[in-house]
C-alpha cells in the first residue's frame, strides 16, 4: 500500500475514531465523554468522505455534532447526581474479555478471509450525486416506503419523548 492522501487520511481518521471510542468508555466525566464521542464520530465522517459519500459525512456531522451532542449534554446536566456516583464500572474484567473475544471473532471470521482479496483498483470510480439519492428516495421503485416510515418514526419519537420528558405538574 503506497502512501498517498487517502491512506494518510485513513490513518488520521482511524486515530480519531478509535481514540475517541476509547475515550468514551474510559473517561469518568460524562461531558468529556460526549466530546470524545464527537471526536470518534468525526472520524467516522472522515471515513465517509474517503469512501466517496460526502453527503453522508455532512449529515453525520450535522446530526451528531450539531444535535445529538447538544442533546446528550442537556441530558447530562439534567441528571447531575451522575457525577456523585463513585463506582462507575461493573464487571470490568469479564466485559473486557467478552469484547476482546468478539473482536477476535470478527477479525478472523470476517476480516482475515478477505485479506488482500479485494483489489481496490478494480472498483469503478463512480460518482454518486445527492440528486440520485433524492430521486431514489421518492421513487415508487426506490425507497419511498422507508422514506415515509422514517417520517412516521421521527414523529412518533418526538411525540413520545416530549410526552415522557415533560414535567408532570405542567
Amino acid at each position: 500500500m503506497e502512501l498517498n492522501a487517502v491512506t494518510i487520511g485513513f490513518f488520521i481518521f482511524s486515530v480519531f475514531t478509535l481514540g475517541g471510542g476509547i475515550g468514551v468508555v474510559t473517561t469518568r466525566n460524562l461531558f468529556q465523554g460526549t466530546i470524545w464521542l464527537m471526536v470518534s464520530l468525526f472520524g467516522v465522517a472522515g471515513y465517509f468522505v474517503l469512501l466517496s459519500a460526502p453527503f453522508l459525512a455532512a449529515v453525520q456531522i450535522l446530526v451528531y455534532i450539531g444535535a445529538i451532542a447538544i442533546l446528550i449534554t442537556f441530558a447530562v446536566m439534567l441528571t447531575r447526581s451522575v457525577t456523585r456516583i463513585r463506582e462507575r464500572y461493573i464487571r470490568t474484567v469479564p466485559s473486557f474479555v467478552a469484547s476482546l473475544a468478539l473482536f477476535l471473532v470478527l477479525l478472523f471470521g470476517v476480516t482475515v478471509p478477505i485479506f488482500g482479496e479485494q483489489n481496490p483498483e478494480a472498483i469503478p470510480a463512480f460518482v454518486m450525486t445527492t440528486r440520485d439519492l433524492g430521486v431514489a428516495l421518492v421513487d415508487a421503485d426506490g425507497y419511498v416506503a422507508p422514506f415515509l416510515l422514517a417520517s412516521i418514526l421521527l414523529t412518533a419519537a418526538m411525540i413520545g419523548a416530549i410526552f415522557i420528558a415533560r414535567d408532570e405538574e405542567s
Binding site: 478509535l18 468514551v24 462507575r88 470490568t92 477479525l107 439519492l133 419519537a157 416530549i162 415522557i164
Partner: protein
Amino acid sequence: MVPLWMYLAVAAALFCIGVFGVLSRRNAVAILMSVELMLNAVNINLVAFWRYSETGTDLLLNGYAFTAFVLIVAAAEAAVGLAIIITVYRNRRSVIPEEAVTLKG
C-alpha cells in the same frame, strides 16, 4: 486506495469498544453513548461494502440509503432513550439501569 478489510477491522474494533462500554458502564447515559458507537461501527461497514461492491445498478444505492435510515433510527433512539433516562432520574434520583426495577414483578 485503502483496501476493504482495513475498514472492516476498524469497524470491528469500534463495535467492540462499544460493546465493552455497554457491558461495563453503570451510568445509563454512558451506555447510550456506547450504543451510538456501535451503530456507527455498523454504518462504517455499510458504506464500505456499498463502495466496494460491484453489483448492478439496481443495488447501487442500497448501502447508501440504508446508512441514512440507520442515522434516523440512531437519532430517534437517542431522543427517546435520553427522555426515559431523565424521567427515571426525576422519579428515582438514579441513572443506574439496574436500580430502575419498578416494572419487575
